[in-house]
Symmetry: C2
Protein backbone atom coordinates (compact mmCIF):
# COMPACT_ATOMS: atom_id res chain seq x y z
CA UNK A 1 0.00 0.00 0.00
CA UNK A 2 1.42 3.37 -1.04
CA UNK A 3 1.13 6.80 0.51
CA UNK A 4 -1.88 7.96 -1.50
CA UNK A 5 -3.81 4.73 -1.11
CA UNK A 6 -3.15 4.84 2.64
CA UNK A 7 -4.51 8.38 2.90
CA UNK A 8 -7.55 7.48 0.85
CA UNK A 9 -8.31 4.33 2.82
CA UNK A 10 -7.86 5.60 6.36
CA UNK A 11 -8.11 9.37 6.18
CA UNK A 12 -10.11 9.99 3.00
CA UNK A 13 -13.39 11.25 4.45
CA UNK A 14 -14.89 14.11 2.46
CA UNK A 15 -15.00 17.46 4.23
CA UNK A 16 -18.50 18.56 5.12
CA UNK A 17 -17.86 21.77 6.97
CA UNK A 18 -14.63 22.99 5.36
CA UNK A 19 -14.95 24.37 1.82
CA UNK A 20 -11.94 22.21 0.85
CA UNK A 21 -10.47 19.29 2.78
CA UNK A 22 -7.89 16.58 2.14
CA UNK A 23 -6.52 16.21 -1.39
CA UNK A 24 -5.42 19.60 -2.71
CA UNK A 25 -2.27 21.63 -1.95
CA UNK A 26 -4.02 23.40 0.91
CA UNK A 27 -7.18 22.96 2.89
CA UNK A 28 -9.54 25.94 3.00
CA UNK A 29 -11.44 26.95 6.12
CA UNK A 30 -13.93 29.68 6.94
CA UNK A 31 -14.27 31.36 10.31
CA UNK A 32 -17.56 32.88 11.39
CA UNK A 33 -17.49 36.66 10.84
CA UNK A 34 -15.62 38.53 13.56
CA UNK A 35 -14.04 35.39 15.00
CA UNK A 36 -10.33 34.98 15.62
CA UNK A 37 -8.45 31.82 14.60
CA UNK A 38 -6.96 29.80 17.48
CA UNK A 39 -4.16 27.39 16.53
CA UNK A 40 -2.19 24.82 18.48
CA UNK A 41 0.21 22.08 17.48
CA UNK A 42 1.56 19.08 19.38
CA UNK A 43 4.11 16.48 18.40
CA UNK A 44 3.92 13.01 19.97
CA UNK A 45 6.94 10.76 19.68
CA UNK A 46 6.96 7.07 20.59
CA UNK A 47 8.80 6.42 23.84
CA UNK A 48 8.50 10.06 24.91
CA UNK A 49 4.78 10.80 24.78
CA UNK A 50 3.36 7.33 24.50
CA UNK A 51 4.54 3.80 25.12
CA UNK A 52 4.63 1.12 22.46
CA UNK A 53 2.11 -0.78 24.63
CA UNK A 54 -0.70 1.69 23.94
CA UNK A 55 -3.64 0.43 21.87
CA UNK A 56 -3.73 2.23 18.48
CA UNK A 57 -7.31 3.36 19.10
CA UNK A 58 -6.33 5.04 22.34
CA UNK A 59 -3.32 6.62 20.68
CA UNK A 60 -5.55 8.07 17.96
CA UNK A 61 -7.78 9.48 20.69
CA UNK A 62 -4.94 10.89 22.75
CA UNK A 63 -3.09 12.50 19.84
CA UNK A 64 -6.15 14.61 19.07
CA UNK A 65 -7.20 15.03 22.71
CA UNK A 66 -3.98 16.74 23.80
CA UNK A 67 -4.39 19.25 20.98
CA UNK A 68 -8.07 19.88 21.70
CA UNK A 69 -7.05 20.43 25.31
CA UNK A 70 -5.08 23.49 24.16
CA UNK A 71 -8.15 24.88 22.41
CA UNK A 72 -10.16 24.24 25.60
CA UNK A 73 -7.60 26.20 27.61
CA UNK A 74 -8.09 29.09 25.19
CA UNK A 75 -11.89 28.98 25.29
CA UNK A 76 -11.98 28.22 21.57
CA UNK A 77 -14.57 26.23 19.66
CA UNK A 78 -12.85 23.47 17.63
CA UNK A 79 -13.22 23.60 13.84
CA UNK A 80 -10.77 21.22 12.16
CA UNK A 81 -7.32 19.64 12.36
CA UNK A 82 -4.41 18.43 10.26
CA UNK A 83 -2.41 15.26 10.87
CA UNK A 84 1.20 14.53 9.96
CA UNK A 85 2.08 10.92 10.63
CA UNK A 86 5.35 9.10 10.21
CA UNK A 87 5.65 5.37 10.84
CA UNK A 88 8.27 2.75 10.04
CA UNK A 89 6.02 0.81 7.64
CA UNK A 90 2.38 0.70 6.59
CA UNK A 91 0.73 -1.23 9.43
CA UNK A 92 -2.94 -1.60 8.61
CA UNK A 93 -3.97 -2.91 12.01
CA UNK A 94 -2.36 0.11 13.60
CA UNK A 95 -3.86 2.52 11.08
CA UNK A 96 -7.39 1.14 11.38
CA UNK A 97 -7.32 1.42 15.18
CA UNK A 98 -5.62 4.80 15.16
CA UNK A 99 -8.13 6.24 12.70
CA UNK A 100 -11.04 4.81 14.69
CA UNK A 101 -9.93 6.46 17.93
CA UNK A 102 -9.09 9.71 16.17
CA UNK A 103 -12.39 10.03 14.35
CA UNK A 104 -14.49 8.95 17.34
CA UNK A 105 -13.17 11.94 19.30
CA UNK A 106 -13.33 14.24 16.26
CA UNK A 107 -16.97 13.29 15.66
CA UNK A 108 -17.89 13.99 19.26
CA UNK A 109 -16.62 17.54 18.77
CA UNK A 110 -18.00 17.95 15.26
CA UNK A 111 -14.61 18.59 13.69
CA UNK A 112 -12.89 17.10 10.66
CA UNK A 113 -9.48 16.24 9.32
CA UNK A 114 -8.72 18.73 6.54
CA UNK A 115 -5.16 17.92 5.54
CA UNK A 116 -1.91 16.31 6.47
CA UNK A 117 1.12 14.38 5.45
CA UNK A 118 2.27 10.79 5.82
CA UNK A 119 5.72 9.37 5.43
CA UNK A 120 7.91 6.47 6.41
CA UNK A 121 10.00 7.21 9.50
CA UNK A 122 10.06 6.70 13.25
CA UNK A 123 6.56 6.55 14.75
CA UNK A 124 5.52 10.12 15.46
CA UNK A 125 2.31 12.09 15.22
CA UNK A 126 1.98 15.84 14.71
CA UNK A 127 -1.50 17.32 14.93
CA UNK A 128 -2.42 20.96 14.46
CA UNK A 129 -5.90 22.03 15.56
CA UNK A 130 -7.91 25.04 14.51
CA UNK A 131 -10.61 26.72 16.52
CA UNK A 132 -12.39 30.02 16.69
CA UNK A 133 -12.93 32.42 19.56
CA UNK A 134 -14.39 35.93 19.85
CA UNK A 135 -11.40 38.32 20.03
CA UNK A 136 -12.17 39.65 23.51
CA UNK A 137 -13.06 36.28 25.08
CA UNK A 138 -9.95 34.15 24.55
CA UNK A 139 -8.69 32.66 27.82
CA UNK A 140 -5.02 33.58 28.21
CA UNK A 141 -2.30 32.70 30.69
CA UNK A 142 -1.69 36.34 31.48
CA UNK A 143 -4.88 37.51 33.22
CA UNK A 144 -4.57 36.10 36.76
CA UNK A 145 -4.68 38.79 39.49
CA UNK A 146 -4.01 38.66 43.25
CA UNK A 147 -7.08 37.59 45.18
CA UNK A 148 -8.51 35.44 42.39
CA UNK A 149 -9.42 31.85 43.16
CA UNK A 150 -7.40 29.07 41.59
CA UNK A 151 -9.45 26.19 40.14
CA UNK A 152 -8.78 22.89 38.50
CA UNK A 153 -11.07 20.51 36.62
CA UNK A 154 -11.34 16.74 37.13
CA UNK A 155 -8.67 14.87 39.08
CA UNK A 156 -4.91 15.09 39.02
CA UNK A 157 -2.10 12.59 39.07
CA UNK A 158 -3.62 9.36 37.78
CA UNK A 159 -1.76 9.50 34.46
CA UNK A 160 1.54 9.90 36.26
CA UNK A 161 0.67 7.06 38.62
CA UNK A 162 0.05 4.80 35.61
CA UNK A 163 3.44 5.79 34.22
CA UNK A 164 5.09 4.84 37.52
CA UNK A 165 3.45 1.42 37.29
CA UNK A 166 4.84 0.98 33.76
CA UNK A 167 8.22 2.08 35.08
CA UNK A 168 8.05 -0.53 37.82
CA UNK A 169 7.97 2.05 40.62
CA UNK A 170 4.44 1.26 41.77
CA UNK A 171 2.20 -1.77 41.87
CA UNK A 172 -1.61 -1.73 41.53
CA UNK A 173 -4.34 -4.36 41.42
CA UNK A 174 -5.75 -4.90 37.91
CA UNK A 175 -8.90 -2.80 38.12
CA UNK A 176 -7.07 0.10 39.75
CA UNK A 177 -4.38 -0.08 37.09
CA UNK A 178 -7.03 -0.07 34.35
CA UNK A 179 -8.50 3.08 35.83
CA UNK A 180 -5.29 5.08 36.01
CA UNK A 181 -4.09 3.69 32.69
CA UNK A 182 -7.28 5.00 31.15
CA UNK A 183 -6.49 8.44 32.57
CA UNK A 184 -3.06 8.28 30.92
CA UNK A 185 -4.20 6.95 27.56
CA UNK A 186 -7.65 8.52 27.16
CA UNK A 187 -7.60 12.06 28.50
CA UNK A 188 -10.80 13.99 27.91
CA UNK A 189 -10.29 17.50 26.49
CA UNK A 190 -12.35 19.99 28.51
CA UNK A 191 -13.81 21.81 25.51
CA UNK A 192 -17.27 22.42 27.00
CA UNK A 193 -15.73 23.80 30.18
CA UNK A 194 -13.43 26.11 28.21
CA UNK A 195 -16.40 27.51 26.31
CA UNK A 196 -18.43 27.92 29.52
CA UNK A 197 -15.53 29.81 31.13
CA UNK A 198 -15.40 32.49 28.42
CA UNK A 199 -15.84 35.86 30.07
CA UNK A 200 -15.54 34.23 33.51
CA UNK A 201 -12.04 32.78 33.93
CA UNK A 202 -9.31 35.41 34.10
CA UNK A 203 -6.59 32.97 33.05
CA UNK A 204 -6.42 29.35 31.95
CA UNK A 205 -3.89 26.71 30.95
CA UNK A 206 -4.18 23.01 30.30
CA UNK A 207 -2.15 20.75 32.57
CA UNK A 208 0.24 18.80 30.39
CA UNK A 209 3.56 19.21 32.20
CA UNK A 210 2.42 19.00 35.83
CA UNK A 211 0.52 21.38 38.10
CA UNK A 212 3.51 23.17 39.61
CA UNK A 213 5.24 23.69 36.28
CA UNK A 214 2.14 24.80 34.39
CA UNK A 215 1.03 27.10 37.19
CA UNK A 216 4.52 28.58 36.92
CA UNK A 217 3.74 29.64 33.32
CA UNK A 218 0.57 31.41 34.46
CA UNK A 219 2.45 33.09 37.33
CA UNK A 220 5.21 34.30 35.04
CA UNK A 221 2.89 35.61 32.32
CA UNK A 222 0.46 37.17 34.79
CA UNK A 223 3.19 38.55 37.06
CA UNK A 224 1.72 36.97 40.19
CA UNK A 225 2.36 34.37 42.87
CA UNK A 226 0.02 31.62 44.00
CA UNK A 227 -0.90 29.43 46.95
CA UNK A 228 -1.95 25.81 46.48
CA UNK A 229 -3.91 24.14 49.28
CA UNK A 230 -2.41 20.68 48.95
CA UNK A 231 -5.23 18.81 50.63
CA UNK A 232 -7.74 20.39 48.22
CA UNK A 233 -6.11 18.83 45.19
CA UNK A 234 -8.64 16.43 43.66
CA UNK A 235 -7.37 12.86 43.46
CA UNK A 236 -8.78 9.43 42.74
CA UNK A 237 -9.31 6.87 45.50
CA UNK A 238 -6.56 4.84 43.81
CA UNK A 239 -4.03 7.65 44.10
CA UNK A 240 -5.17 8.48 47.65
CA UNK A 241 -3.99 5.01 48.73
CA UNK A 242 -0.40 5.56 47.58
CA UNK A 243 2.51 6.74 49.72
CA UNK A 244 2.58 10.45 50.59
CA UNK A 245 5.76 10.92 48.50
CA UNK A 246 4.28 9.30 45.40
CA UNK A 247 0.99 11.19 45.79
CA UNK A 248 2.80 14.47 45.98
CA UNK A 249 4.91 13.70 42.92
CA UNK A 250 1.84 12.66 40.92
CA UNK A 251 -0.31 15.61 42.01
CA UNK A 252 2.23 18.41 41.68
CA UNK A 253 4.56 17.22 38.96
CA UNK A 254 2.45 14.63 37.21
CA UNK A 255 2.10 15.71 33.65
CA UNK A 256 -0.40 14.34 31.14
CA UNK A 257 -3.40 15.40 33.24
CA UNK A 258 -5.05 17.50 30.49
CA UNK A 259 -7.28 19.17 33.01
CA UNK A 260 -7.87 22.93 32.99
CA UNK A 261 -6.18 25.10 35.59
CA UNK A 262 -7.84 28.49 35.73
CA UNK A 263 -8.35 31.56 37.85
CA UNK A 264 -11.53 33.52 38.45
CA UNK A 265 -12.58 36.36 40.74
CA UNK A 266 -13.73 35.23 44.17
CA UNK A 267 -17.05 36.98 43.56
CA UNK A 268 -17.73 34.61 40.65
CA UNK A 269 -17.59 31.33 42.59
CA UNK A 270 -21.22 30.51 41.94
CA UNK A 271 -20.84 31.33 38.28
CA UNK A 272 -17.81 29.01 38.02
CA UNK A 273 -19.73 26.17 39.65
CA UNK A 274 -22.68 26.80 37.31
CA UNK A 275 -20.34 26.78 34.27
CA UNK A 276 -18.82 23.49 35.41
CA UNK A 277 -22.26 21.98 35.97
CA UNK A 278 -23.30 23.11 32.47
CA UNK A 279 -20.15 21.47 31.07
CA UNK A 280 -20.72 18.38 33.22
CA UNK A 281 -17.21 18.52 34.65
CA UNK A 282 -16.23 18.59 38.31
CA UNK A 283 -14.11 21.56 39.37
CA UNK A 284 -12.25 22.15 42.61
CA UNK A 285 -11.04 25.40 44.12
CA UNK A 286 -7.43 24.56 45.02
CA UNK A 287 -6.01 27.86 46.21
CA UNK A 288 -5.57 31.46 45.25
CA UNK A 289 -3.54 33.92 43.25
CA UNK A 290 -1.20 36.09 45.36
CA UNK A 291 0.81 39.25 44.92
CA UNK A 292 4.54 38.64 44.49
CA UNK A 293 6.02 35.82 42.49
CA UNK A 294 6.30 32.87 44.90
CA UNK A 295 4.50 29.55 44.72
CA UNK A 296 3.42 28.41 48.18
CA UNK A 297 2.05 24.96 48.86
CA UNK A 298 0.30 24.68 52.20
CA UNK A 299 -1.44 21.99 54.22
CA UNK A 300 -4.93 22.18 55.67
CA UNK A 301 -3.64 24.34 58.53
CA UNK A 302 -1.91 26.76 56.18
CA UNK A 303 1.58 25.42 57.01
CA UNK A 304 3.99 25.40 54.05
CA UNK A 305 4.99 22.08 52.52
CA UNK A 306 8.38 21.55 50.90
CA UNK A 307 8.70 23.13 47.43
CA UNK A 308 7.26 21.08 44.59
CA UNK A 309 9.29 19.25 41.99
CA UNK A 310 9.70 20.98 38.67
CA UNK A 311 7.47 20.48 35.63
CA UNK A 312 8.07 17.93 32.96
CA UNK A 313 10.78 18.91 30.49
CA UNK A 314 10.97 16.99 27.25
CA UNK A 315 14.74 17.41 27.07
CA UNK A 316 15.44 16.62 30.74
CA UNK B 1 19.34 23.61 28.09
CA UNK B 2 15.70 22.65 28.65
CA UNK B 3 12.70 22.82 26.38
CA UNK B 4 11.47 26.24 27.45
CA UNK B 5 14.88 27.86 27.39
CA UNK B 6 15.44 26.42 23.91
CA UNK B 7 12.17 27.88 22.64
CA UNK B 8 12.95 31.25 24.20
CA UNK B 9 16.49 31.39 22.83
CA UNK B 10 15.90 30.26 19.26
CA UNK B 11 12.22 30.75 18.57
CA UNK B 12 11.18 33.41 21.07
CA UNK B 13 10.55 36.36 18.78
CA UNK B 14 7.52 38.41 19.77
CA UNK B 15 4.60 38.31 17.34
CA UNK B 16 4.05 41.59 15.56
CA UNK B 17 1.21 40.73 13.23
CA UNK B 18 -0.61 37.98 15.14
CA UNK B 19 -2.64 39.13 18.17
CA UNK B 20 -1.01 36.29 20.14
CA UNK B 21 2.08 34.30 19.22
CA UNK B 22 4.35 31.76 20.92
CA UNK B 23 3.86 31.16 24.65
CA UNK B 24 0.20 30.54 25.41
CA UNK B 25 -1.92 27.41 24.87
CA UNK B 26 -2.93 28.60 21.40
CA UNK B 27 -1.80 31.25 18.98
CA UNK B 28 -4.45 33.67 17.77
CA UNK B 29 -4.62 34.92 14.19
CA UNK B 30 -6.88 37.30 12.31
CA UNK B 31 -7.80 37.01 8.66
CA UNK B 32 -8.74 40.06 6.64
CA UNK B 33 -12.55 40.33 6.37
CA UNK B 34 -14.02 38.01 3.73
CA UNK B 35 -10.84 35.97 3.36
CA UNK B 36 -10.67 32.21 3.60
CA UNK B 37 -7.99 30.43 5.63
CA UNK B 38 -5.58 28.25 3.61
CA UNK B 39 -3.70 25.61 5.59
CA UNK B 40 -0.98 23.12 4.67
CA UNK B 41 1.26 20.85 6.70
CA UNK B 42 4.45 18.98 5.80
CA UNK B 43 6.54 16.57 7.80
CA UNK B 44 10.24 16.23 7.02
CA UNK B 45 12.10 13.22 8.37
CA UNK B 46 15.87 12.81 8.29
CA UNK B 47 16.96 10.29 5.68
CA UNK B 48 13.65 10.55 3.82
CA UNK B 49 13.27 14.24 3.04
CA UNK B 50 16.73 15.49 3.79
CA UNK B 51 20.18 14.02 4.19
CA UNK B 52 22.28 14.36 7.31
CA UNK B 53 24.80 16.25 5.14
CA UNK B 54 22.53 19.27 4.71
CA UNK B 55 23.62 22.51 6.37
CA UNK B 56 21.19 23.44 9.21
CA UNK B 57 20.57 26.85 7.67
CA UNK B 58 19.47 25.28 4.40
CA UNK B 59 17.32 22.79 6.25
CA UNK B 60 15.56 25.63 8.08
CA UNK B 61 14.96 27.28 4.73
CA UNK B 62 13.72 24.15 3.03
CA UNK B 63 11.38 23.05 5.83
CA UNK B 64 9.47 26.31 5.51
CA UNK B 65 9.88 26.58 1.72
CA UNK B 66 8.14 23.29 0.96
CA UNK B 67 5.16 24.43 3.03
CA UNK B 68 5.04 27.89 1.48
CA UNK B 69 5.11 26.17 -1.89
CA UNK B 70 1.71 24.65 -1.07
CA UNK B 71 0.31 28.10 -0.29
CA UNK B 72 1.75 29.33 -3.61
CA UNK B 73 -0.01 26.50 -5.45
CA UNK B 74 -3.25 27.65 -3.84
CA UNK B 75 -2.77 31.33 -4.68
CA UNK B 76 -2.76 32.17 -0.97
CA UNK B 77 -0.94 35.00 0.76
CA UNK B 78 1.18 33.63 3.64
CA UNK B 79 0.35 34.81 7.16
CA UNK B 80 2.08 32.66 9.77
CA UNK B 81 3.35 29.17 10.62
CA UNK B 82 3.84 26.73 13.47
CA UNK B 83 6.86 24.47 13.96
CA UNK B 84 7.04 21.10 15.71
CA UNK B 85 10.61 19.91 16.02
CA UNK B 86 12.00 16.72 17.48
CA UNK B 87 15.72 16.10 17.73
CA UNK B 88 17.87 13.60 19.59
CA UNK B 89 19.49 16.21 21.84
CA UNK B 90 19.74 19.96 22.13
CA UNK B 91 22.36 20.86 19.50
CA UNK B 92 22.91 24.59 19.65
CA UNK B 93 24.96 24.80 16.46
CA UNK B 94 22.17 23.03 14.61
CA UNK B 95 19.46 25.17 16.21
CA UNK B 96 21.21 28.46 15.50
CA UNK B 97 21.68 27.60 11.82
CA UNK B 98 18.22 26.12 11.46
CA UNK B 99 16.57 29.18 13.00
CA UNK B 100 18.65 31.52 10.82
CA UNK B 101 17.56 29.81 7.59
CA UNK B 102 13.97 29.55 8.75
CA UNK B 103 13.61 33.18 9.77
CA UNK B 104 15.45 34.51 6.71
CA UNK B 105 12.81 32.98 4.46
CA UNK B 106 9.97 33.91 6.83
CA UNK B 107 11.12 37.53 6.90
CA UNK B 108 11.24 37.69 3.12
CA UNK B 109 7.57 36.76 3.08
CA UNK B 110 6.59 38.88 6.06
CA UNK B 111 5.34 35.95 8.12
CA UNK B 112 6.02 34.85 11.68
CA UNK B 113 6.26 31.76 13.83
CA UNK B 114 3.20 31.74 16.10
CA UNK B 115 3.45 28.43 17.91
CA UNK B 116 4.90 24.98 18.04
CA UNK B 117 6.30 22.16 20.03
CA UNK B 118 9.77 20.76 20.68
CA UNK B 119 10.74 17.41 22.07
CA UNK B 120 13.54 14.89 22.18
CA UNK B 121 13.24 12.24 19.49
CA UNK B 122 14.48 11.35 16.02
CA UNK B 123 15.27 14.43 13.92
CA UNK B 124 12.01 15.49 12.26
CA UNK B 125 10.37 18.77 11.43
CA UNK B 126 6.64 19.40 11.04
CA UNK B 127 5.57 22.82 9.82
CA UNK B 128 2.01 24.00 9.31
CA UNK B 129 1.52 27.21 7.32
CA UNK B 130 -1.44 29.57 7.29
CA UNK B 131 -2.41 31.86 4.46
CA UNK B 132 -5.45 33.73 3.22
CA UNK B 133 -7.15 33.77 -0.15
CA UNK B 134 -10.38 35.30 -1.48
CA UNK B 135 -12.97 32.48 -1.56
CA UNK B 136 -13.49 32.56 -5.33
CA UNK B 137 -9.82 32.89 -6.29
CA UNK B 138 -8.13 29.86 -4.69
CA UNK B 139 -6.15 27.86 -7.24
CA UNK B 140 -7.31 24.24 -7.09
CA UNK B 141 -6.23 21.01 -8.72
CA UNK B 142 -9.68 20.45 -10.15
CA UNK B 143 -10.17 23.23 -12.68
CA UNK B 144 -8.13 22.08 -15.72
CA UNK B 145 -10.20 21.74 -18.91
CA UNK B 146 -9.37 20.27 -22.35
CA UNK B 147 -7.67 22.80 -24.59
CA UNK B 148 -6.00 24.68 -21.75
CA UNK B 149 -2.26 25.21 -21.92
CA UNK B 150 -0.05 23.43 -19.39
CA UNK B 151 2.67 25.60 -17.81
CA UNK B 152 5.50 25.13 -15.40
CA UNK B 153 7.67 27.65 -13.55
CA UNK B 154 11.46 27.60 -13.30
CA UNK B 155 13.43 24.49 -14.23
CA UNK B 156 12.85 20.84 -13.44
CA UNK B 157 15.02 17.94 -12.39
CA UNK B 158 18.07 19.54 -10.76
CA UNK B 159 17.08 18.44 -7.25
CA UNK B 160 16.75 14.85 -8.40
CA UNK B 161 20.06 15.05 -10.22
CA UNK B 162 21.72 16.17 -6.98
CA UNK B 163 20.14 13.22 -5.16
CA UNK B 164 21.59 10.86 -7.80
CA UNK B 165 25.04 12.33 -7.18
CA UNK B 166 24.63 11.71 -3.43
CA UNK B 167 23.50 8.19 -4.25
CA UNK B 168 26.62 7.63 -6.36
CA UNK B 169 24.65 7.23 -9.60
CA UNK B 170 25.99 10.39 -11.25
CA UNK B 171 29.18 12.40 -11.11
CA UNK B 172 29.42 16.17 -11.56
CA UNK B 173 32.24 18.72 -11.44
CA UNK B 174 32.21 20.82 -8.26
CA UNK B 175 30.51 23.98 -9.54
CA UNK B 176 27.82 21.98 -11.35
CA UNK B 177 27.22 19.94 -8.22
CA UNK B 178 26.92 23.11 -6.14
CA UNK B 179 24.27 24.38 -8.53
CA UNK B 180 22.06 21.31 -8.47
CA UNK B 181 22.64 20.79 -4.76
CA UNK B 182 21.38 24.30 -4.22
CA UNK B 183 18.22 23.41 -6.16
CA UNK B 184 17.70 20.42 -3.87
CA UNK B 185 18.45 22.17 -0.58
CA UNK B 186 17.17 25.71 -1.23
CA UNK B 187 13.97 25.57 -3.25
CA UNK B 188 12.27 28.92 -3.76
CA UNK B 189 8.51 28.89 -3.04
CA UNK B 190 6.69 30.61 -5.92
CA UNK B 191 4.46 32.77 -3.74
CA UNK B 192 4.51 35.86 -5.99
CA UNK B 193 3.64 33.74 -9.02
CA UNK B 194 0.76 32.03 -7.18
CA UNK B 195 -0.68 35.43 -6.25
CA UNK B 196 -0.25 36.74 -9.81
CA UNK B 197 -2.06 33.67 -11.18
CA UNK B 198 -5.22 34.28 -9.12
CA UNK B 199 -8.14 34.51 -11.53
CA UNK B 200 -5.89 33.39 -14.39
CA UNK B 201 -4.73 29.81 -13.80
CA UNK B 202 -7.54 27.25 -13.98
CA UNK B 203 -5.61 24.69 -11.91
CA UNK B 204 -2.32 24.58 -10.05
CA UNK B 205 -0.19 22.19 -8.02
CA UNK B 206 3.31 22.43 -6.66
CA UNK B 207 5.77 19.83 -7.92
CA UNK B 208 7.02 17.87 -4.95
CA UNK B 209 6.68 14.25 -6.11
CA UNK B 210 7.70 14.58 -9.77
CA UNK B 211 6.01 16.07 -12.83
CA UNK B 212 4.26 12.91 -14.06
CA UNK B 213 2.92 11.96 -10.63
CA UNK B 214 1.79 15.45 -9.68
CA UNK B 215 0.20 16.06 -13.08
CA UNK B 216 -1.64 12.80 -12.43
CA UNK B 217 -3.30 14.38 -9.38
CA UNK B 218 -4.51 17.31 -11.49
CA UNK B 219 -5.78 14.96 -14.22
CA UNK B 220 -7.66 12.83 -11.72
CA UNK B 221 -9.25 15.73 -9.87
CA UNK B 222 -10.05 17.65 -13.05
CA UNK B 223 -11.21 14.57 -14.97
CA UNK B 224 -8.90 15.26 -17.92
CA UNK B 225 -5.89 13.91 -19.79
CA UNK B 226 -2.76 15.82 -20.77
CA UNK B 227 0.05 15.96 -23.30
CA UNK B 228 3.58 16.91 -22.29
CA UNK B 229 5.97 18.10 -24.99
CA UNK B 230 9.12 16.55 -23.63
CA UNK B 231 11.54 18.86 -25.41
CA UNK B 232 9.77 21.88 -23.98
CA UNK B 233 10.54 20.85 -20.39
CA UNK B 234 12.82 23.53 -18.92
CA UNK B 235 16.13 22.16 -17.68
CA UNK B 236 19.47 23.51 -16.57
CA UNK B 237 22.58 23.30 -18.73
CA UNK B 238 23.97 20.86 -16.15
CA UNK B 239 21.03 18.49 -16.53
CA UNK B 240 21.04 18.88 -20.33
CA UNK B 241 24.53 17.30 -20.38
CA UNK B 242 23.43 14.09 -18.67
CA UNK B 243 22.42 10.83 -20.39
CA UNK B 244 18.95 10.77 -22.01
CA UNK B 245 17.76 8.18 -19.48
CA UNK B 246 18.88 10.19 -16.46
CA UNK B 247 17.45 13.39 -17.90
CA UNK B 248 14.10 11.77 -18.42
CA UNK B 249 14.04 10.33 -14.91
CA UNK B 250 14.95 13.70 -13.40
CA UNK B 251 12.50 15.71 -15.50
CA UNK B 252 9.46 13.47 -15.28
CA UNK B 253 9.83 11.70 -11.94
CA UNK B 254 12.23 14.02 -10.16
CA UNK B 255 10.51 15.18 -7.04
CA UNK B 256 11.58 18.08 -4.84
CA UNK B 257 11.24 20.61 -7.67
CA UNK B 258 8.82 22.92 -5.82
CA UNK B 259 7.90 24.65 -9.04
CA UNK B 260 4.28 25.44 -9.93
CA UNK B 261 2.52 23.34 -12.56
CA UNK B 262 -0.61 25.11 -13.75
CA UNK B 263 -3.13 25.30 -16.55
CA UNK B 264 -4.61 28.39 -18.19
CA UNK B 265 -6.81 29.06 -21.19
CA UNK B 266 -4.91 29.40 -24.46
CA UNK B 267 -6.42 32.85 -24.91
CA UNK B 268 -4.62 34.03 -21.75
CA UNK B 269 -1.05 33.29 -22.87
CA UNK B 270 -0.01 36.94 -22.82
CA UNK B 271 -1.59 37.39 -19.41
CA UNK B 272 0.31 34.37 -18.05
CA UNK B 273 3.60 35.74 -19.38
CA UNK B 274 2.81 39.14 -17.88
CA UNK B 275 1.98 37.54 -14.51
CA UNK B 276 5.27 35.62 -14.59
CA UNK B 277 7.19 38.77 -15.48
CA UNK B 278 5.50 40.60 -12.60
CA UNK B 279 6.50 37.75 -10.27
CA UNK B 280 10.02 37.68 -11.78
CA UNK B 281 9.82 33.95 -12.44
CA UNK B 282 10.39 32.20 -15.78
CA UNK B 283 7.49 30.07 -17.00
CA UNK B 284 7.36 27.58 -19.88
CA UNK B 285 4.39 26.25 -21.78
CA UNK B 286 5.05 22.49 -21.72
CA UNK B 287 1.93 21.03 -23.30
CA UNK B 288 -1.82 20.99 -23.06
CA UNK B 289 -4.82 19.57 -21.25
CA UNK B 290 -6.73 16.95 -23.25
CA UNK B 291 -10.09 15.24 -23.12
CA UNK B 292 -9.95 11.66 -21.83
CA UNK B 293 -7.73 10.52 -19.00
CA UNK B 294 -4.42 9.58 -20.63
CA UNK B 295 -1.03 11.19 -20.09
CA UNK B 296 0.87 11.43 -23.40
CA UNK B 297 4.50 12.45 -23.57
CA UNK B 298 5.61 13.41 -27.06
CA UNK B 299 8.81 14.53 -28.78
CA UNK B 300 9.25 17.64 -30.89
CA UNK B 301 7.59 15.89 -33.85
CA UNK B 302 4.58 14.83 -31.78
CA UNK B 303 5.71 11.17 -31.57
CA UNK B 304 4.90 9.44 -28.25
CA UNK B 305 7.75 8.63 -25.87
CA UNK B 306 7.62 5.63 -23.53
CA UNK B 307 5.39 6.14 -20.48
CA UNK B 308 6.98 8.03 -17.62
CA UNK B 309 8.05 6.56 -14.34
CA UNK B 310 5.64 6.96 -11.46
CA UNK B 311 5.74 9.76 -8.93
CA UNK B 312 7.61 9.65 -5.67
CA UNK B 313 5.92 7.61 -2.95
CA UNK B 314 7.16 8.01 0.60
CA UNK B 315 6.34 4.40 1.44
CA UNK B 316 7.80 2.86 -1.75
Amino acid sequence: MGEFELIEKYFGRAARRAPLGVGDDCALLDLEPGMRLAVSTDLLVEGRHFLSTVAPERLGHKALAVNLSDLAACGAEPLAFTLALSMPRVDEVFLAGFARGLYALADRHGIELVGGDTTAGPLSICITVFGQVPPDQALLRSGARPGHDLWVSGRLGDARLALEVFRGNALLPGSAFDEVRRAMECPEPRIALGLALRGLATSAIDLSDGLAGDLGHVMRLSGVGATIEYDALPRSSVLALQSPELQRECLLAGGDDYELLFSAPRSRRDAVLAAAAEAQVAVSCIGSIDAGEALRIVDADGRPLAPAARGFDHFA
